[in-house]
């Protein structure tokens, strides 16, 4: 937070957007402050890369600034914002297709996974981080569309109506797609859980940074 910028807790999103239309940059900055984390979370889960996600985040809010006059108020501001974010992520993924897939680094994932956790106990925090890393890895194995649906529904907690607006898909199709996406995700998670449990049993340190678990610990 830099000096000279005052938070505007009173104004609603639509009011801030109206001020953006009039050229008020502080209104845009307030919108960024309010929605940075959920939008970045969505972008990061889609793009699996910090740098790309940060660039995409900037792109999203520049588009919000430039398209402020196009928001008609038919839907919620967050629905409109997530639609811009989803389209921005899709454009970047399309542009990236010619280049090799950027692999997520486990260390980075673990670090990111601990942000926002309220656990004070370091051991619990480490367990949580491993769990989050595993789930994130499994999500990366999903298709772009499935990843978007799962992130919007289960992590951003958007409704099916909102997701239908964001993705441009039929609401009735979404339920089926979500069910199938969860099924695939479960399969990937089971695979990762099996790998982790094998590593624990063999007593080696795995790719997730796990050390020997309680079952292997020496007794008194």
């Amino acid at each position: 937070m830099t000096s000279g910028f005052a938070y505007d807790f009173g104004a609603g999103n639509e009011e801030l957007l109206r001020r953006c239309k009039e050229g008020d940059e502080t209104a845009l900055r307030e919108l960024l402050r309010r929605h940075e984390r959920p939008v970045y979370s969505l972008l990061y889960r889609m793009l699996a890369n910090h740098e790309d996600a940060e660039e995409a985040l900037a792109d999203v809010f520049v588009k919000v600034w430039r398209s402020a006059s196009k928001f008609r108020g038919d839907s919620k501001f967050t629905t409109w914002l997530y639609r811009i974010a989803a389209n921005t992520a899709r454009d970047r993924l399309r542009a990236r297709k010619a280049r090799p897939e950027v692999a997520m680094e486990d260390e980075v994932l673990s670090e990111i996974a601990t942000v926002g956790t309220t656990t004070v106990d370091p051991e619990q925090a480490a367990v949580d981080a491993d769990e989050f890393t595993r789930v994130e890895k499994a999500m990366q194995k999903l298709s772009e569309e499935d990843r978007l649906l799962v992130t919007l529904y289960h992590i951003q907690e958007s409704s099916l109506e909102e997701i239908a607006e964001i993705t441009g898909r039929n609401r009735s199709n979404l339920k089926v797609k979500l069910f199938r996406a969860r099924r695939k995700l479960r399969a990937h998670l089971e695979e990762l859980d099996r790998e982790t449990s094998n590593e624990l049993q063999s007593g080696t340190t795995g790719t997730l940074g796990l050390q020997s678990g309680p079952a292997e610990s020496s007794t008194g």
Binding site: Y40, A113, V115
Partner: protein, 125 residues
């Protein structure tokens, strides 16, 4: 199956929000600069890649039109020169035409003499 679904949903819901490692506002602000000039001719022409392309296409058409006009003007000039040359040539020709003037006596005075000769030959004495 339901239990597995429930367990999965719980795991997903537990995922925390992530946040960027660096401050993004300065990047956003730097990209707003061209967009601030809204409605101006500069922004209209040079604001976005699409607009840049449109401006370049318009400039190309204008240059092409100018070159075409110059070319047509040059053709016009050379056409006028050709016409002037043709007129000069035409001025020479009338001299030949003037050489052949209309006359009732195409043999120019020799007709009567020839007729007299013919009459003398045909009229027996």
């Amino acid at each position: 199956m339901l239990e597995e679904e429930t367990r999965l949903v719980k795991r997903l819901s537990a995922l925390p929000q992530t946040e960027p490692k660096r401050e993004v506002w300065s990047t956003v602000q730097s990209r707003l600069a061209p967009a601030r000039r809204s409605g101006g001719a500069f922004d209209l022409i040079f604001g976005t890649p699409v607009r840049k392309l449109t401006a370049a296409a318009a400039a190309f058409v204008i240059i092409l039109a100018a070159l075409f006009s110059v070319a047509m003007w040059r053709i016009g000039v050379s056409e006028q020169e050709s016409i002037a040359q043709a007129k000069d040539l035409m001025r020479v020709q009338p001299i030949a035409q003037q050489a052949s003037t209309w006359t009732d006596d195409p043999l120019a005075g020799t007709t009567d003499a020839m007729l007299k000769v013919l009459e003398d030959e045909t009229r027996p004495e």
